[in-house]
């Protein structure tokens, strides 16, 4: 007999070892997320995928699915709080969408659209952060890093390298690279690496590609992130989406 969980009243099958997020994505149910990517070890840090499991708040991307779980996902209360958590990310970093190449292809922005975020709600931190433009093909703009560690994990788990890391504590956290100089050019990162394409914000960008698709014709200009995310995870046919979506949506599929 198949084991099942219920998300917002919908019965969903799962297999042992699957998280709530795994089961949901497989069953065409979108749970907002930023630090999660189906190809990498779950991290559980952004907390956008917080759901209520039998009344208790859990991160869907790390919490194992178990028989009999009654899960609330798409409620006004949770989406309201997810919006607040997204606003926290916006005021912590320096996210100026009009001047960002990633705008329109940016999951952070798209999640905010999805949650109908119209303002930033909290006071800004305006932290001074740096750019690392040393690498010939890849740029790091620390202003936009949300510490999801997707680049860290992609580099370790897919590229077989170890280019990125997170250092510091609390609000002083920051992205670092594996080079004595501290500069990206002195790492073995290649522009074709998964780690260079997986960033859910404009923090890691491939140089000279930013405006190949004009603003207004980009993924989230025409598709909600729930549809894009489900298509990218394979539960929905991506035929409904333009061909470039599969490439950019969950950060590129190089070498596949």
């Amino acid at each position: 007999m198949t084991k099942t969980i219920a998300i917002d009243g919908k019965t969903i099958p799962f297999e042992d070892g699957q998280t709530i997020m795994d089961a949901a994505l497989a069953a065409d149910v979108y749970i907002p997320h930023l630090c999660h990517h189906p190809e990498f070890t779950p991290h559980g840090s952004c907390k956008l995928c917080s759901v209520k499991v039998n009344g208790r708040i859990c991160s869907a991307c790390t919490f194992p699915a178990a028989e009999g779980q009654d899960i609330i996902n798409n409620s006004d209360e949770l989406n309201g709080d997810r919006k607040r958590i997204t606003q926290m990310l916006f005021v912590e970093g320096n996210h100026f969408c009009p001047s960002c190449e990633k705008s329109g292809n940016c999951p952070l922005q798209a999640v905010a659209y999805y949650l109908n975020m119209l303002d930033n709600h909290f006071p800004f931190f305006f932290q001074t952060r740096q750019l690392d433009a040393s690498h010939p093909d890849v740029l790091i703009d620390h202003n936009r890093c949300i510490f999801c560690t997707l680049c860290v994990r992609a580099s370790q788990q897919q590229d077989g390298k170890d280019v990125f890391g997170i250092a510091g504590r609390g609000i002083n956290k920051h992205l670092i690279v594996n080079a004595e100089s501290g500069q990206l050019k002195d790492t073995d990162l290649d522009a074709a690496d998964k780690a260079a394409h997986v960033c859910p914000t404009g923090a890691i960008l491939i140089k000279r590609t930013g405006y190949q698709v004009p603003i207004g014709q980009r993924i989230y200009d025409h598709h909600q992130i729930d549809a894009v995310s489900l298509a990218a995870s394979g539960s929905r046919p991506s035929a409904a989406l333009p061909p470039f979506v599969a490439v950019v949506a969950e950060g590129g599929r190089h070498g596949r």
């Binding site: 009009p98 930033n120 305006f126």
Partner: protein, 179 residues
């Protein structure tokens, strides 16, 4: 309801792009004109804001004059709206927040390339710069936010028609853009 809705608009540290986008409602402006009357606004050249129903603020707060203008609007407008990226998060002018004001002023007036007769302007008529550009909700209470750089004409239209009709303004997914 009796009489027309009074609307005031201004641009603080902004580029007037939001105002231009507002004008892009094109022929709907005629319909809007049946319903609203403009108070202080670049559309009217009225210098100071009188009592209004709605105030639309474009741009962030970069200097002391912006603070005074914003306060004048807050005092006179029943509903105050942050319009566009700069009003909401400081926008492009806020990119200077990561360079000390001292360096900005020195570069512009003292030791930048091509500066002649270097001096910091000190006329009392000139507003002084704040050390950072702030979104307007950090200075006064804001009732609604219209994101976008600029918000599209449809955003203005949807928002104003909702508000004038007494509906809680709602922006559907396709109207919410930050760029």
């Amino acid at each position: 309801m009796g009489g027309k809705i009074r609307v005031a608009t201004t641009s603080l540290a902004g580029c007037f792009g939001c105002h231009m986008s507002f004008l892009d409602i094109d022929e709907r402006m005629i319909e809007l004109a049946q319903l609203v009357e403009f108070d202080r606004s670049p559309f009217t050249d009225i210098e100071h804001c009188g009592p209004c129903d709605i105030g639309l603020i474009e741009g962030g707060v970069c200097n002391s004059e912006n603070v005074h203008t914003l306060r004048e609007f807050r005092k006179n407008c029943k509903t105050l709206v942050a319009v566009g990226a700069c009003a909401i998060n400081g926008g492009l002018p806020a990119l200077r927040n990561f360079i000390p004001l001292e360096e900005c002023l020195a570069e512009a007036y003292l030791d930048g390339i091509g500066v002649e007769n270097p001096q910091i302007p000190s006329d009392v008529e000139l507003p002084l710069l704040l050390d950072k550009v702030h979104p307007i909700h950090e200075i006064v209470k804001i009732d609604y936010f219209l994101p976008g750089c600029p918000p599209s004409a449809d955003v203005f239209w949807k928002f104003l028609t909702d508000l004038i009709a007494g509906r809680e303004p709602q922006l559907p997914y396709e109207l919410v853009r930050y760029d």
